[in-house]
Symmetry: C2
Subunit: 134 residues, 2 copies
């Protein structure tokens, strides 16, 4: 069912410093910050030859990643995103298998403009999983 790894998301406490680490120390192709007010985050995409790293930084009040940064002040890997062809079929199959879908269970439009859902980390080894329909 799952296809490509679309991205790995890393929550960071200092966006400029994180961009500099990836650009200067790791020599990666680091994009420009994009504010995503609907998601409460500023994102920076790092393009690797086969996938992307997504740096996440809180934007505005009540950002969904603020709690994660409060618990992990240095930052950390926040989630992985797998691609699926049909997000509703994937959701229904996952529920049949006993996995919990976060929120209402209706896909939202994610940072890439495509439908996304998140799965409960307790059902996936403490790892927050995003599914994105491509």
């Amino acid at each position: 069912m799952i296809g490509r790894l679309n991205h790995v998301a890393i929550a960071v406490p200092d966006l400029e410093a994180a961009m500099a680490q990836y650009r200067d120390a790791l020599g990666a192709d680091v994009g420009a910050p994009q504010d995503e007010p609907d998601h409460g985050v500023t994102v920076v995409f790092i393009e690797l030859p086969n996938t992307k790293i997504e740096l996440l930084y809180p934007l505005g009040e009540g950002s969904p990643i603020q709690g994660f940064l409060d618990k992990n002040p240095s930052g950390g890997i926040h989630h992985v995103c797998y691609e699926v062809e049909d997000i509703l079929a994937a959701r229904d199959h996952l529920r049949d298998q006993g996995a919990r879908v976060l929120g209402t269970g209706e896909p939202k439009i994610g940072a890439h403009g495509k439908p996304v859902l998140f799965l409960h980390p307790k059902d996936f080894n403490g790892c927050l999983v995003e599914l994105e329909q491509v």
Copy 2:
């Protein structure tokens, strides 16, 4: 400098359960467990079209992931691995940029039989980074 994302490693407290989640709930191509006594882990590779997920489970006494699982009993994302062409050149460049290389700084032979190094998570947003020469 960094090339492909070679894998994302997820430490899991129950290897059979984790394999079943990825095989049955996520419909992925899950390999057979491989014991890596030199590394103190049993690994399972999940092949995605563009990269791999590596499930990590402690093997023997003093496994390097036991401390992580003690702190994260449900499991969690343990590290990301980026490919490099020349691991010694990468190490020297990273040190010049102020990043700390774990251990002696001499590459070890990793689970894929290739030279690897780990970078200090505090220098990379709380994210443990493995470099693998390919």
